[in-house]
Each structure stands twice: as structure tokens, then as C-alpha cells.
């Protein structure tokens, strides 16, 4: 191999292919929850359907009701996951928890849900029953009821077993004001537990990672924990669940909405060793993996310790910890401070998370 003499090489000039913007067709990255999703929403949906409620840009819309002191929180979420069952959860539990959590993030008490099902021809009735039983259990745990539903069946191959859409409704008590636009300089940032568990649990359940671990999805209804938190500390500014796009993408949204910067201490961010190892092997960043039962809390510093105590009393918040703070400088930036004394900028997830080659 080394026998050949190497002549000096005249290197080529700039080479680079023209970009492919994917504006002609929908590609998988449009569903990643990152910037491609945001562009899709802005360019296709909001430009045609936009109104004051959509522009609030939070997990749920906030709607005033005539003759009522409180307001209505409304949210909807479609659930497509493969496989349907994974360690720690299933599509049914996700469909309830995702929507319950989105409604609860505005400080509302989720009460009613609707559920729409798209079923693929050939789906075993036993599978459907298991999913519905799981939904029932999650409804009971969250204290919500499904009050309207719809079912459609499509030909084999036109869907993947079962798709579920849920919408959720809850009342926001008078005087409660929470939202991504309300983070204040001087606030602190808390997280209710470990990050990336759901993302890795689902990937692993697909069976093609070539390794196994005991990682469980964190899918959980967070409304009762949130209710306890807000009852004790009404001054919470922001609640968000870092689902698709992970902690980094969600914090970036908050930083942009509130025109602040968010500073994270890398060492304080809780990540399970097995999730960290799986990420190292696959070239993923746990800060971008989906969570389905985690809560970001942004609130004044003087309330932080009390908030942590309350969160830790709930099983879904047992690992709650303080991970960062909010500052007025460098608006729209999320900055991660490493244990090496260096800083790196966290941006939004762009498209689909892809495993690295080596």
C-alpha cells in the first residue's frame, strides 16, 4: 500500500453541491420538532390559519370564556410511535400523558380529552384492547375523562397499526399566568428528572441497536405534580415539557420567546449513565432526545428550593434538580457551561436525529 510514491497533488477548488431545502415534499425531518418543523408550521400552517391564539406559541392555547373569571386551555397532539409498546409505556399512555401535560403547562387543570383513532386494517383486536386499557389507566391516574372520540380504519399499509390524536381541555384559574414568554432575568431553571430516557427506550425497543439496557420511557402525567407546585408557588413563570427536540430545543424556544439567555451548568444536568453510554455509542446528544414525563420549571430564585422540595415529593419529580439560570445578556442564546470551564452554544434541533457513522 505504501509502495507507490505520492506526487504532490494540486487540490481542487471549492466543491459543494447545491442545497436541497425540501420545500417541495414533506420529509421525515419536518416532524422532528426542530427548526424544520417550525419552518413548516410558519410557512404552511400559520400563514394560512394564523390567529392570535396560535401566535401565543405555547404548549396549549389560552382562550377567554365569556362570563367566567378563568380561561380555557386547549391543546392537541397526534401520536405515532413504533413500536406501539416499549419499556415504560405504549402509544396509549403517550396519547393521554402528552396532551394532559401540554394543558397542564399553562397551569390549567386538565379535565376532558377527545380521542381520534386511525386504525390499520389487520390490527389485532388484542393489541387495540391493550392500548385502550393503557389509555384508561393513564386517564384514571391523571384524573381526566375522554368525552368524545372518533374511529377510522384505513387499508393495510396506509397506516402503521394505530395512530391516535387526542385533544385536551382544562380550566386556568383566574390570575394564573404562565408561558414561554415570561422567563425573567434572575430566574432559575429546574428540571424534574433525568433526560433522554424516552428517546433511548423507544429506539432500543425497535430492536436494531444491537444492545440492551434497562432504560424505561418516562411517559407520565405531570398534572398532579404541577398542581401541587403551583398551589404552593403561584409565582412560577414558565412550565414546559421537553418532548421532541429535547431540553436544548425547548430552552431555546423559551429564550427566544422571553428575549433572555439561559445558562446551564452541564455537570448538574441529570442523565442516566446508561442513557449517556447509549448516546456515546450512537453519536446522539441526550440534550436533544425526547422526554415524555419531564418538566422544566423557570421561577424566581427565592422559590427554587421550595419548588425542588415539592417536586421531589412526587415520584415523577424524585430526581428534580436545579440546572441553570436566566440572564438578560445575549438574548435568545442557550449557553452550556462545561466542567472544563468552557462554554458552548446550544441551538435548536434542525432535522431528524441521525446516528453518526463512527
Amino acid at each position: 500500500m505504501t509502495g507507490k510514491t505520492f506526487e504532490p497533488i494540486t487540490m481542487q477548488g471549492p466543491v459543494c453541491p447545491v442545497p436541497h431545502h425540501h420545500t417541495d415534499t414533506v420529509v421525515i425531518g419536518h416532524g422532528s420538532g426542530g427548526t424544520m418543523t417550525q419552518d413548516l408550521i410558519r410557512n404552511i400552517f400559520q400563514s394560512r390559519l394564523g390567529n392570535a391564539y396560535l401566535e401565543q406559541g405555547n404548549d396549549a392555547a389560552r382562550i377567554a370564556i365569556q362570563g367566567s373569571a378563568g380561561e380555557l386551555a386547549v391543546s392537541t397532539d397526534s401520536h405515532v410511535v413504533f413500536p406501539l409498546f416499549f419499556p415504560g409505556g405504549d402509544i396509549g399512555r403517550l396519547a393521554i400523558c402528552g396532551t394532559v401535560n401540554d394543558v397542564a403547562m399553562l397551569g390549567a387543570k386538565p379535565a376532558f380529552l377527545t380521542a381520534g383513532f386511525i386504525l390499520e386494517e389487520g390490527l389485532p383486536m388484542e393489541t387495540l384492547t391493550r392500548v385502550i386499557e393503557s389509555m384508561a389507566a393513564a386517564c384514571e391516574e391523571a384524573g381526566v375523562q375522554i368525552v368524545a372520540g372518533d374511529t377510522k380504519v384505513v387499508e393495510k399499509g396506509k397506516a402503521d397499526g394505530i395512530f391516535i390524536n387526542t385533544a385536551g381541555f382544562g380550566l386556568i384559574p383566574p390570575g394564573r399566568d404562565l408561558g414561554g414568554q415570561l422567563a425573567q432575568p434572575g430566574d432559575v431553571v429546574l428540571i424534574s428528572g433525568t433526560l433522554g430516557d424516552h428517546g433511548i427506550a423507544v429506539l432500543q425497543a425497535r430492536g436494531d441497536l444491537g444492545f440492551e439496557s434497562g432504560i424505561q420511557s418516562d411517559a407520565a402525567p405531570l398534572n398532579k405534580m404541577i398542581a401541587a407546585l403551583l398551589e404552593a408557588i403561584p409565582r412560577v413563570h414558565v412550565l414546559r415539557d421537553p418532548t421532541r427536540g429535547g431540553l436544548a430545543t425547548t430552552l431555546k424556544e423559551i429564550a427566544c420567546q422571553s428575549q433572555v439567555s439561559i445558562h446551564l451548568e452541564e455537570e448538574s444536568i441529570p442523565i442516566r449513565p446508561e442513557v449517556r453510554t447509549a448516546c456515546d455509542m450512537l453519536g446522539f446528544d441526550p440534550l436533544y432526545l425526547a422526554n415524555e414525563g419531564k418538566l422544566i420549571v423557570v421561577l424566581p430564585e427565592e422559590n427554587a428550593n421550595q419548588a425542588l422540595e415539592i417536586l421531589r415529593q412526587n415520584p415523577y419529580g424524585a430526581m428534580a434538580t436545579r440546572i441553570g439560570s436566566v440572564s438578560a445578556a445575549d438574548p435568545e442564546q442557550v449557553l452550556l457551561h462545561t466542567p472544563y470551564g468552557t462554554t458552548r452554544i446550544l441551538d435548536m434541533l434542525s432535522g431528524e436525529i441521525l446516528p453518526r457513522i463512527c
Binding site: M11, P17, V18, T25, G29, T338, D347, R356, C358
Partner: protein, 368 residues
């Protein structure tokens, strides 16, 4: 919560130890030195941990062409896209190849248009897919440096053993030593020392490197990927430069031996032979890639499918070529972060998370 780092790595990510080595680098260095880390995985780690922010001003790191996704030629990508479009084909690839733009499309768009494009985590998974789908032609895009070559070779050997007539690979492996020759022999070369790619050396050993170091009077340190590995590799290289010594030191001895992995090398030699290869941004480098040996030619997808003539049209703005040779920093590109970002990459280095531009973008290097 306790330190989330797995035990076996905690020492190599220990901030105190890293700072100790950095202090030693600061004590050692007396003049400016330009080093190249050859491997994209190293670029990624340097950016992720912000190690470049901690080095003394005298030391400049330039990022080498060690990202297989970035250097895979447009022709090969267009061939891949053409094959992936065939209705009888299941096209399999490592994940980050899906976003790399060919002349008119990428693998994501092929998939959106109905092509069966699947991400695999290992080449043997593609063989499994072939065994499960006898009515389909399964093609694996065999990219990577010497690191992936044994697994790619293994897939071919396994397919042969199973008698699979419906499996083939698109051979695209590239080799590090010829690229080092190309960089060091270039009239524009600025590189004074190399951090050799630890995982490539884990497979190939580093017996090929002393002659390169000698020929171009450029010291090298075989370097790993954790923060402590990286600063150790830099320290070893700087020591040699300061002493005026030209040698190849192994700063990754927990993984790399001089001879490398003999079994893996034998497997590579059985399936592959060095061929000339076109590198995106560099040009054709003699004997810098792996093609299939005569015995295994039937597994060559380019022979099985009529891949035809492919024309190349390139963006005039992107400076990927200079970035991949270490002549320019990603942030010196006029398109960086504006026209070119991970979502709409102008150049391959922005596409892969191992690419230098993507690492700069992700980890917030606005300017240098």
C-alpha cells in the same frame, strides 16, 4: 445526582486531569504551532468539550478531512441515489449519509418519493435485511475510513457464506495515510504536526506512519477521543515540535498497538484492494480508497446496477474544499450559519455531525 459519566470513562473526562495536562501544554509551548486532527470524531469532541478554547494562543487546530460523510464524492452520492430509486432495491446506509446532498436530491427525498431507504447501525444488519427479503436487491453504502472497513468486509464475507445473491455494496471506503500524503505534499500545506486518528489506528496500527512523519518532517501522536486523550495527544505533538524531534508517539495506547488488529486487517485484505478515489474537496488521491478484490467483484453494486455517467455541479459559495484541507476555518466561510446551516447544508462538512462546519455551528463558533 451522581456524576453521570460511565465509570470506565470518568477518568478520561475528568476536568481536573484535563486542566493539569493543559497547564503542561502551556509550559511546553514557546512558539506558534499548527496541528491537524485528522478525524471528524476528534473535531466533534474538541468542539463539544470546548477544548480549543482552553489551548494557548500559540496552538492552532485545523480540522482534517476525517469525516467520511464529508469526503464522499458527489459521483458516489449520485450513484447511491440512482440505485436507491430502483423499485427492486432496499438501500441501506449509516444514518448521517441520508442528508448529504447529491446533485439534485438526497436520500431523504428518495425515501419521501417512495424509495426504500433504511438506516442501519451495522453493515451486518444490511445482510440480515437481504436474507429476509430474497425478492429484493439490498445494497449497503459502504462508507467510512479504515475504521468501518472490517465491518464492511465482514458483511460481504457473510453474504457470500449465506449464498446471498441479492446483496451488494457500493464501495466508498477511504484511507487515512494517502490523505495525509496529499495534505502534507500540497504546496498550500500549513500543518506542522498531526493528531492521528485513534480508531483508524486501532484497526490498522500505526506502522505506516513513521515513514510519512519522516518524509514530511511532521511529528504525529496517535490520539483518542475523550478530552484527556485529546489534550494528551496535543501535548505529545507539541513536545516533539518544541524539541525538534520527528516521531510517531502513541497517546492512545489503551486502544492502539503498533501492528493494529491483524485479524481485521486480514479480513480487509481478503475483500478490498486499494484503488484511486476522488475525495470531495480534495480531488483524486492515488490508492486512497477500497474497491472490491476480483473474488468479491460480484458484490459490487456499481457492476450490478448501471450507474452511468454523472455530472457534477457545485455551489460556488461553499469553501468545503479549503475547510477539509485545513486551509480555512468553517467560520471564515461567507455562507457559514446564514445560507449554510445543518438544515440546508451547502457543503458536506455541515451535514454530518462529524463535519467540521456542523461542529462549529452546533457548538457555537461564530468567529475565531
Amino acid at each position: 445526582m451522581a456524576d453521570p459519566t460511565p465509570d470506565f470513562l470518568s477518568g478520561y473526562r475528568n476536568a481536573k486531569l484535563v486542566k493539569t495536562v493543559l497547564a503542561e501544554i502551556r509550559q511546553t509551548v514557546t512558539q506558534p504551532w499548527t496541528l491537524m486532527e485528522i478525524c471528524g470524531g476528534q473535531t466533534h469532541a474538541i468542539m463539544q468539550y470546548g477544548l480549543d478554547q482552553l489551548l494557548p494562543d500559540e496552538i492552532e487546530l485545523v480540522h482534517g478531512p476525517g469525516c467520511p460523510v464529508c469526503v464522499t464524492s458527489l459521483e458516489l452520492i449520485d450513484q447511491a441515489l440512482m440505485i436507491a430509486q430502483q423499485p427492486e432495491v432496499i438501500f441501506t446506509s449509516f444514518g448521517d449519509m441520508l442528508r448529504v446532498p447529491g446533485s439534485t436530491a438526497d436520500l431523504f427525498s428518495i425515501r419521501a418519493a417512495g424509495g426504500d431507504v433504511r438506516v442501519v447501525y451495522a453493515p451486518l444488519d444490511a445482510v440480515k435485511i437481504a436474507a429476509q427479503n430474497p425478492e429484493k436487491q439490498v445494497v449497503f453504502f459502504a462508507i467510512g475510513f479504515e475504521t468501518t472497513a472490517p465491518a464492511n468486509a465482514m458483511a460481504v464475507i457473510q453474504a457470500e457464506k449465506l449464498g446471498l445473491k441479492n446483496f451488494s455494496i457500493l464501495p466508498a471506503n477511504v484511507l487515512v495515510p494517502p490523505a495525509m500524503h496529499a495534505i502534507l505534499s500540497s504546496p498550500q500545506n500549513r500543518i506542522q504536526g498531526f493528531l492521528a486518528a485513534g480508531h483508524v489506528c486501532a484497526v490498522m496500527g500505526y506502522w505506516e506512519y513513521p515513514s510519512i512523519a519522516e518524509k514530511y518532517q511532521t511529528p504525529m501522536a496517535v490520539t483518542g477521543f475523550e478530552p484527556l486523550d485529546l489534550v494528551n495527544g496535543i501535548l505529545e505533538t507539541v513536545k516533539m515540535l518544541e524539541e525538534g524531534r520527528v516521531a510517531v508517539e502513541n497517546a492512545y495506547s489503551r486502544v492502539v498497538t503498533f501492528e493494529g488488529n491483524k485479524v481485521a486487517q486480514q479480513m480487509i485484505a481478503k475483500v478490498f484492494q486499494p484503488v484511486d478515489r476522488n475525495w470531495r474537496g480534495i480531488g483524486t488521491i492515488p490508492l486512497s480508497g477500497y474497491g472490491l478484490t476480483e473474488t468479491y467483484e460480484p458484490f459490487d453494486a456499481t457492476q450490478r446496477f448501471n450507474t452511468g455517467e454523472i455530472r457534477t455541479e457545485e455551489s460556488k459559495i461553499c469553501i468545503a474544499g479549503q475547510v477539509l484541507q485545513g486551509i480555512k476555518k468553517p467560520s471564515q466561510c461567507p455562507a457559514f450559519g446564514t445560507l449554510c446551516n445543518p438544515q440546508t447544508p451547502l457543503g458536506a462538512p455541515m451535514v454530518s455531525s462529524e463535519g467540521a462546519c456542523a461542529a462549529y455551528y452546533r457548538y457555537g463558533r461564530k468567529s475565531s
